[in-house]
Symmetry: C2
Subunit: 412 residues, 2 copies
């Protein structure tokens, strides 16, 4: 009886296989709105400051901060209202503020020359042609700087970043019409087993319909790759060998479902050993032990268990990371969308309100520990989420989460 030649824990099997998988080299230029889920094959820099002008973050009055010095409810500053800013107006065409003047403004509006702060509407009382200001504001209050979203020359995305919905918005904000992305990986799917008939046939007694290719197609396409299915191969070594050679020739990544164990009719291991290099034979997991990882002419080939449950599970746990790397993805995060991470700094919140805070994940290469660093960018800036890896939620009954605690980060 044959044996598993090189059985390993999932983690070391993955590390070993990942270290040998090379990203696809072909790329293509596509329109930005079509790039959702694709992997960048170029670095993206900002060619200008965004939003490019100073904006108000509150409804109220744009003022010169010094004109509100020492203002209070008892001693309001009285400023002359010289007009109001319409949304989308060109800032340089707005009247420049002179001493003790104010101009009405709404959230997102461009701030006129000489104004350096906004007083919230709630801290004012409007008179006929002037306004009472009940609070002093420091310079910069309720303003968003001209380069607060992106700075000219700043690197926004690394090569190998998989574009999320929010990233498509960022590319639009940056004025990009097209981007260079890696071509979609073509995954060849083979099924072997003399008991199998195709999913479109009615199986006679003793045979069953082949289903793994249908399941794998869904899982592969959810990863942004393309599927090429091949006819069922019976338990015959030379026919399996010919089929594997064809699939390796025609695609970028090959999956073989069935024949990966050590029984009398399991030929996958011998075929892969003859055609290329077997890295792993046997995973120390359940289900999923009969898994083979190999390389043939630099193309990854994975032998999957024929059992549908094991096949789907090994795809998620083992094939997904390899496929991501082959697709050009630079940083591999777990496929599930929540990851635990230790908070790098305290999060403060308010009782009775559920807060969601963007965080950046940082991997300590030595310990393998994952840390979450809160990002306090303004919600007006698309860059806040672009720079984030995920979201930490603070339940309504918590006032804070202390630094050092482990939180669940929901990946974006």
């Amino acid at each position: 009886m044959r044996r598993f030649e090189n059985s390993q824990p999932l983690s070391s099997a993955l590390s070993l296989s990942l270290s040998r998988v090379t990203p696809l080299s072909e790329s293509e230029e596509i329109a930005v709105p079509e790039a959702y889920g694709r992997v960048l094959a170029e670095e993206i820099f900002s060619s200008s400051n965004l939003p490019g002008f100073v904006r108000a973050t509150m409804d109220g009055y744009a003022v010169r901060a010094q004109d509100t010095h020492n203002a209070s409810h008892e001693r309001p500053a009285i400023l002359k209202v010289i007009g109001s800013v319409e949304m989308g107006e060109e800032p340089q065409k707005l009247p420049a503020l002179q001493e003790s003047e104010a101009i009405e403004i709404t959230t997102g509006g461009p701030v006129p020359p000489n104004a350096d702060a906004v007083v919230m509407l709630e801290e004012t009382e409007t008179l006929s042609d002037s306004v009472k200001v009940f609070a002093s504001v420091e310079p910069g209050r309720h303003l968003l700087a001209a380069d607060s979203d992106f700075q000219r020359g700043e690197r926004v995305f690394y090569m190998g970043h998989r574009l999320r919905a929010i990233d498509i918005g960022a590319l639009i904000a940056l004025g990009r019409e097209s981007v260079r992305v890696f071509k979609r990986v073509r995954v060849g799917v083979l099924n072997t087993g003399s008991e199998l008939v195709s999913g479109r046939e009615s199986p006679p007694p003793g045979k069953i319909r082949e289903t793994n290719s249908y399941v794998l197609r869904g899982l592969i396409e959810a990863q942004g790759a393309k599927t090429q299915s091949y006819p069922i191969v019976p338990d015959d070594k030379s026919r399996l060998r010919a089929a594997v050679e064809q699939a390796v020739h025609e695609t970028d990544f090959v999956l073989i479902s069935g024949g990966s164990s050590v029984g009398a009719r399991d030929w996958t291991f011998e075929v892969l050993q003859e055609l290329g290099e077997v890295l792993v034979h046997g995973l120390q997991i359940r289900p999923g032990k009969p898994t083979i990882s190999a390389l043939i002419v630099q193309k990854p080939v994975v032998g999957l268990p024929g059992n549908p449950v094991s096949c789907a599970l090994v795809f998620e746990k083992f094939v997904c990371p390899l496929l991501s790397k082959r697709s050009g993805v630079r940083v591999l995060l777990p496929a599930h969308r929540l990851v635990p991470a230790r908070l790098l700094s305290k999060i403060e919140s308010v009782k009775g309100r559920e807060d969601f805070l963007a965080v950046r994940l940082k991997l300590d290469e030595d310990s393998g520990a994952l840390f979450a660093e809160p990002i306090y960018g303004h919600t007006n800036n698309i860059s806040t989420l672009v720079r984030a890896d995920g979201i930490v939620s603070v339940p309504a009954d918590l006032e804070k989460i202390e630094a050092g605690l482990t939180v669940w980060v929901e990946l974006l």
Copy 2:
């Protein structure tokens, strides 16, 4: 100054809105391989027993269990080998076993008449035309019953189930060529704000490119719905009203980004109140407070914050569940893929091996508590995963997880 009229915590805002959203009534018949991610508009029953014949789950010898009675290493049973079963052979054409006969078989092979157990190859020694059996086996050992995957007449999927990759395989196994699914929801996306120019234009100073429609399109399509984008609407009540009327007329679900707060240029609340019924104005979360939930002629309309970060977050936290219900989805699970649940029964595992166990989630309607019930189906059966909601992993250094403990369930 206007105020948020009906501000609520996220959970109650969601419950209230969900209770008023009705699923789309239109459905269509599509080919099974194209149904990944679609929502079933019919119940699916099994029309036959599957696999339909008794199969071996190990390589070895099919035997009559009684012929191995009391067999041991010291006193092996000696059985006459009358042949071997080829994969995919018709069971009724195989020779029926007589007293003290055995037949060679591999995993998945059909068990011949009169055989009621399989002896593992490891518990035998092959002689020229007979086999020594070193262990007694009970009837049913290493066999999979003819109806172990699906029983004739069994309900496999409820109406309102969103088809996962594994479910497509199950439909194929059941012999289905097509299924009836709900039509994809058409989501109308409006953006309002006089400061916005389209993503294809270069904004003059004071204006910015509109990006939310691009982000929303990615998020909407990831939910299996379709997007219809409308031209940017300036801060003008009558133009916003006309645009909303058109979108409600042409689509099934409307999102309006911007104008949802309480500032002087925010018209969404008034427009929605005039055209339909406002359910929620203001969410007690951060970011995302300026959110409006309304119904116009039974179609959900959500006013989203114009800030890109808030817009994307409110989509994930608030719009996603409403969109799922509108799409026909019957049971709404959280959008993130890990959920905590209390184990209903102990899981046993083996040290040094990482185990993955399928579980079914059960919701206690009264307490809202989620429980995970381990499913011990055979890995050969696609039904094991079809019946499961998720997977619990048992790390290699654990031997068991006690009932009553909370585990993280990774949703399938």
